[in-house]
Structures are given as C-alpha cells and as structure tokens.
C-alpha cells in the first residue's frame, strides 16, 4: 500500500495550449467583430459621419475622458456626450461641467457632415452663453485627390 503511494505520479505540468488557442481565437473574433460592427471606439460615445477636410489638425484633447463633446446628428438632434439635450439646456450643462477646474475650457463639436448649419448655430450660441469662446469641430482627413466641390 505504502509502496504504491510512493510511486511517482504521472507528470501533470503540461500547458494545455489547445484550450489556450481556443480562448485566444475567441478573443480575436470578439475584438474583430466589435471593431467591424461598431467601428473604432469614438470619443463622445457616438459615431458620426464626420466632415472630410484636407488639412485637419490633431485634437488630442478630444480623447480625454473629461472632454466636453457635443454630438449633432444628421437630423439635427443634439447630444451632450451620449445624453440627448435641448440646445437651450446646454449652457447649464456646460456650466456644471466647468465647475471641475481640470476640465478643458473648450467644447468639441462632432457634427454629421450632412447636418444643417442651422442645427449647429444653436449649439454655438449655447456655448457662447456658457461663457466659452473656443470650440473645435471634429473632422476626418481626406486625401487631396478626393477633393471636389
């Protein structure tokens, strides 16, 4: 009995790479599907068909978690981050955010390229009412060959 207990057990230290490969494959597919379905994660929590311009500048501030981003959809709906708002309520919401002194005093506007300028104007007025001057429009870069008006 004792002798059989002392018998060295079968080595059980193998790494089961097949299961690991299965998990990795699953992770890759999930990431791939997420990116393909929803696109790359967008700042402001919403994706939009942004205007395409030739010479945009980098907007690192828009990537900050506390960036104030106003989304304007094609049909003129206005969202402060992901919450739909009335432009008339926007000054108060911006003012609330500005109580945090670390917040950049700039509003990033992410408007759909086919949104009417008349839908953007109330947002600009609201930003002005909140006491801010600086805005930035988020855009996409396009190649020079694709520029036609």
């Amino acid at each position: 009995m004792l002798q059989s207990w002392r018998k060295p057990a079968k080595l059980f230290s193998d790494f089961n790479t097949l299961q690991f490969a299965c998990v990795m494959s699953l992770v890759v597919f999930v990431v791939l599907l997420t990116v393909l379905t929803f696109g790359a994660p967008t700042c402001g929590g919403m994706s939009a068909d942004l205007p395409k311009v030739l010479h945009p500048v980098s907007m690192r501030g828009a990537d900050r978690e506390d960036a104030m981003i106003v989304n304007i959809t094609r049909d003129g709906k206005v969202y402060f981050a992901v919450d739909q708002v009335n432009p008339a309520d926007l000054p108060q919401k911006i003012a609330d955010r500005l109580k945090d002194h670390d917040v950049e005093r700039k509003v990033y506007i992410k408007a759909d390229m086919r949104a009417r300028w008349g839908a953007v104007k109330p947002v600009l007025d609201a930003v002005r009412s909140a006491g801010l001057m600086r805005v930035a429009f988020l855009v996409d870069e396009r190649s020079a060959t694709a520029f036609h008006m």
Partner: protein, 147 residues
C-alpha cells in the same frame, strides 16, 4: 493471444498550436495598437463674444467675412469673400493673397441655415490652410466691425 502495439503514445496527428498562438497574440496587439493610435482630427474655431462696452473701434481694418450661401438642393453652395463671389477652387488662393500681408489673421465665417455642415467645415479648413490663425463663427445675422 495478447498483442501489443509498438510505442505507447497516441499516434494521431496533432496540430502545432504554438505558432497559432503567436499569430493570434500578434493580431490582438495589432488591433489594440490600431484602435489606440487612431487620433482625432479637428478644426479650431472661436465664437466671438458680444461687445459689452459698446465702444466702436473706428480704427479697425476691413474685416474679412466668408459667407457660405445656399443655392439649391443637392448643389454646392456659393461662397463669397467680403460680398464677392469666389469659386471653391480659388478660395484658398484668394484668402492666401489677402492674408499674406496682414498682421491680424482673423476671418469670420457666416453660413446660411440650410447649408450642409460639410461646406462650412471645408471653409474653415481652407481658411486655416491659407494662413488664417483665428476663425470666428457668426451665428447671427449681425455685422462685424469693419465689415
């Protein structure tokens, strides 16, 4: 009657998963890098605050106002620089000529309500590339000083 097979191990084919895992890890890292390094692009602009002290600045030079005027549905709007029609292809060159000798590189952009935002964004972009440092957005139909 007993018989034995040579070699006690399994003789079935086995997939070599090590290179597969290498490839998968590389794919994951590439996805993460592509997503993380996708930068945001934008166009800076400013919203002029209303003049509170009511003092007219008589020495202000003639202000440059770029207007984007709606024409018809599904047609590109017309663009004017200080009331003069300019084609879209000539806009940047025209602005560059204006601002090459100016010290104060400020322009104002005014657009019709029905104009697509794409066109206003293009005007801001071309103005910046032509040398305008600050673009003011006019949301109301008021005149600016010097216009």
């Amino acid at each position: 009657m007993a018989f034995s097979m040579a070699g006690g191990g399994s003789s079935g084919p086995q997939i070599n998963v090590t290179p597969l895992i290498d490839v998968l890890l590389t794919l994951i890292i590439m996805f993460m890098l592509v997503v993380a390094m996708d930068p945001e692009y934008g166009e800076k602009a400013q919203i002029p605050q209303p003049n509170t002290d009511r003092k007219e600045d008589v020495t202000q030079p003639r202000t440059v106002v770029i207007e984007v005027m709606w024409t018809a549905k599904d047609q590109a709007p017309t663009v004017k620089v200080n009331q003069q029609d300019v084609s879209w292809t000539d806009l940047e060159e025209r602005l560059a000529r204006i601002y090459i000798s100016r010290v104060e590189k400020v322009a104002f952009v005014r657009g019709d309500a029905d104009v697509d935002f794409q066109y206003v964004a293009s005007v801001i972009d071309l103005a910046h590339h032509a040398g305008v440092q600050r673009v003011g957005l006019m949301t109301q139909d008021q005149k600016v000083a010097g216009e």
